[in-house]
């Protein structure tokens, strides 16, 4: 009886130990591999998929680590080598490195990024496709208070504003709202989902009167929302741009990514998001694949 039990224990122990060892070994990273990351919202996952699928098609070895979190997680992940490539947005990336920067237009921001991206990293060409933060209100609110520009929000004071936690400290967020447009009587409601369904719902239910919903969101048309105009250029351009670890740079890699950037438009982003977040609920990878094929970028 004891003998049988001992043998059983021995066998189980051997299997288990080897599994543990294997699990440990699995985290070893081969070189010559591109690890593509993304932020934790659908649009970024779509863009990450576009990069990954195109690079794989061009013969690169690709691994993916999507939905890591906000820039505050992805930048350290780039720095410690967990990921090599990120689909970024030039404006917000610039502010991450230099919170005082005055650059606003696409060319200004791109130029400023060249100097501000730290040693060991670089950006490639930016895309005409943009996904900007925006101050958004419902049609009803806009009509009632005659809101056209962000500055008109002073007529709405005091009001609640919903956005992700970073917004309270970003230059185009509350601080900018106060300093550039003089709107100060705002109650900030942090909502974790980057202008996603919660933020939209909060706005539509009037839990907040203004929300930061990104300009490619399908909800803007679906819910008949109004994007307030920004005459003072508070909100910088947010063109899609690849950020990568210089170690993986090669002309072939750059060619693939620059080709994607050139072909991508803001309308494309809206359409991709509608496919993934709207009624169809397509998977991000499916939508990415279809877009690449339609653009003739896959051979």
């Amino acid at each position: 009886m004891f003998k049988a039990k001992n043998r059983g224990v021995g066998v189980v122990g051997a299997i288990a130990t080897s599994l543990v060892v294997l699990t440990g070994c699995a985290s070893a990273d081969p070189a010559e591999e591109v690890v593509v990351g993304s932020f934790a919202f659908p649009e970024s996952e779509i863009l990450g998929n576009i990069y990954a699928l195109a690079l794989e098609n061009a013969g690169f070895e690709v691994e993916t680590q999507f939905n890591l979190g906000p820039r505050q997680t992805t930048v350290p992940a780039l720095e410690d080598g967990s990921i090599d490539l990120m689909p970024e947005y030039n404006g917000n990336l610039l502010f991450f490195y230099d919170t005082e920067n005055e650059a606003r237009s696409t060319s200004e921001v791109d130029a400023a990024l060249e100097t501000n991206v730290p040693e060991g990293f670089q950006v490639l060409n930016s895309s005409p496709a943009q996904d900007k933060d925006a101050y958004v209100v419902t049609q009803a609110t806009a009509d009632e208070f005659d809101l056209v520009t962000i500055g008109d929000l002073s007529r709405l004071e005091p009001f609640s504003l919903g956005a992700n936690p970073q917004f309270a400290e970003l230059p185009y967020g509350l601080p900018g709202l106060a300093s550039v447009y003089g709107v100060t009587d705002v109650t900030f409601v942090p909502i974790e989902d980057f202008g996603g369904p919660d933020t939209v719902k909060a706005l539509v239910d009037d839990a907040v009167q203004v929300a930061d919903i990104y300009t490619t969101s399908p909800a803007l048309t679906a819910e008949n929302l109004v994007v307030l105009e920004d005459p003072e250029n508070l909100i910088a351009s947010q063109n899609v741009i690849p950020l990568l670890n210089s170690d993986i740079y090669s002309d072939e890699l750059a060619a693939v990514l620059n080709e994607i950037s050139a072909a991508l438009s803001t309308e494309d982003l809206i359409e991709l998001r509608t496919r993934v977040e709207g009624d169809e609920k397509a998977q991000a990878s499916t939508a990415a694949q279809d877009w690449l094929e339609a653009e003739g970028l896959l051979d």
Partner: protein, 244 residues
């Protein structure tokens, strides 16, 4: 009756029924499920081994016992999400390293198991231990041939509890990008897609069921003298679990 049932089933799937999502994306769900199961296994196993050592020590030297059990209680209360986030900085691992999640889950498994193991060994009748001492068993032999087998049923019950709660906890790792069933929850929420979430919950239950069956079979294999895996008799054993 079978024919009618099949007919209804095919009508359902030919409609725009969202369960077709599962069929379309079966690869994705399968991959996430396997990864989820793999992530769950190591913490359960490691936690058990470490808890065995600690629990047995706690039982032998009563001085350590209160320390170890108190330590377990404190570990138990550390909230999971911040631990996942902070661990790379403490361990010095890369941010996306899966070992972060495994270490955190092992800590939680330990927290539950320490108490279970200590109680299991405490419940071994002193007569049996005295008898084995009288016969001349060494400490080591006594542990493997007397205490461990007698503590077995309670240990198994504790393992089953830890197995279920570890599997449930793995999904929280998706918030920091771990590729497991939790992705179905976060992505489903972001896209307002309930079916994805429900499928994820189902798959998670499935893993838990499989692990549980395996554990019961393991118990029968290693402890053939128990006719039936003894279910929890003392209510205290039912009452440990770890929330997210």
């Amino acid at each position: 009756m079978m024919k009618a049932g099949l007919q209804e089933f095919s009508e359902l799937t030919s409609e725009d029924c969202r369960m077709s999502w599962l069929f379309d994306n079966f690869d994705l769900v399968a991959e996430l499920t396997l990864n989820h199961a793999a992530l769950s296994f190591t913490p359960i196993f490691l936690g058990f081994v470490i808890a065995l050592v600690l629990g047995w020590t706690a039982n032998r030297w009563l001085l350590f016992r209160s320390w170890i059990i108190a330590g377990g209680s404190i570990l138990y209360t550390i909230p999971s999400l911040p631990l996942f986030v902070i661990l790379p900085y403490i361990l010095g691992t890369r941010i996306t390293d899966e070992r972060n999640i495994i270490v955190a889950l092992t800590i939680y498994a330990l927290a539950i198991l320490i108490r279970t193991v200590a109680e299991a060994f405490a419940a071994v009748p002193t007569d049996a231990i005295e008898a084995s001492r009288a016969i001349g068993y060494s400490s080591w032999n006594r542990f493997w041939h007397v205490e461990f087998p007698l503590a077995g049923p309670v240990l198994l019950a504790g393992l089953r509890v830890v197995s279920a709660s570890t599997i449930a906890l793995v999904s929280v790792g998706a918030i920091i990008g771990s590729a497991n069933l939790g992705y179905l929850f976060t992505n489903g929420k972001q896209r307002d897609f309930l079916e994805m979430i429900l499928i994820g919950i189902g798959a998670s239950f499935l893993i838990a069921l499989v692990f549980d069956i395996l554990l019961v079979l393991l118990g029968r294999l290693l402890m053939p003298w128990n006719k039936r895996t003894s279910l929890i008799t003392n209510g205290r054993r039912i009452l440990s679990s770890k929330g997210a």
